[in-house]
Symmetry: C2
Subunit: 193 residues, 2 copies
Amino acid sequence: MELSTVHPLRKHIEAVTKLTDEEFEYILSHFTEKKIKKHGDLIREGEYINHEYYVLQGCLRTYFNDPDAGKEYTYQFAVEDWWLTDREAFLNGTPAKMTIECLEPCVLLSISKENREKLGREMWKYEHYLNVKSNIGYVALQKRMLGMITKNAKERYETFLEQYPHLANRIPKTYIASYLGVSRETISRLYRQ
Amino acid sequence: MELSTVHPLRKHIEAVTKLTDEEFEYILSHFTEKKIKKHGDLIREGEYINHEYYVLQGCLRTYFNDPDAGKEYTYQFAVEDWWLTDREAFLNGTPAKMTIECLEPCVLLSISKENREKLGREMWKYEHYLNVKSNIGYVALQKRMLGMITKNAKERYETFLEQYPHLANRIPKTYIASYLGVSRETISRLYRQ
């Protein structure tokens, strides 16, 4: 990275609250970088999760298995500037119900639960950033939930393309179909149109 | 309320972080009480929303209309100790997409966006409480989303009864059916079993 470039995490935090160079350096010192190859797993079902991750580069998929149904469900995707973890496992200290795999080679910034809480206590700005970020995540999930209730397959797919035009080419159609709760055939038919 | 009773909001905050009497009195001074009759609306679709609400007493339903489909969808319920608002409208300053109606006579504590942010800036404890609360809300919504993807009508209904046994008797079955995305007939059949 060139010296003149603003760090992506800094840009992300500063969309909420401005930081001095010292403040950002201090925040960054609580993270470690993690690289994972394509097809590698960031989190595996059953593991205890003590970190959350910020994506510097790459594309990841969160999915879970339903052994009763013999099915795999795609819960969400993440690309550059997104935060991810198994939130339930991370917050409650329960084993992960999901697996997060890298669809591309990935570079992530990792922060432990302890460092997250320490930073939040020490710097109001960081606690506030987490709060705003968490609310944005909630609203996005709420929109998706409403879409699941009120939209048909075609509308869900169109909304996905509108919301995430940069994802459609990076993610196999099978996974997009699984994420939207529609069949692979429906997606293929819609792609051709 | 008797002198010896702990205020429900204080109890709710103290599940996250302990407060002194002075701190709680200061927090409470930023709220105003609001009473609404049965069938009255707390929020109406199209309004700008500058408050969020904590339920002291009563039961509320959030729903939205889809004029294209000629349908009404129940998004969520709230009872004592729950927070609610149209979160998207509240956070983004856009008009409410939902209506919140009182299924019972309701008593709420109301806090404006300005006071919420002021309190969060002044008291780390309050910002932290909001953060924890928001994460719990996110995980609950995530669980519901996963349920919508992976569970059938019967399973969704059983999970609802398990999670919210105190709601089943306070809320008309039609609304529970609408919330679960199942037909009124399915719920009636399951009730008889």
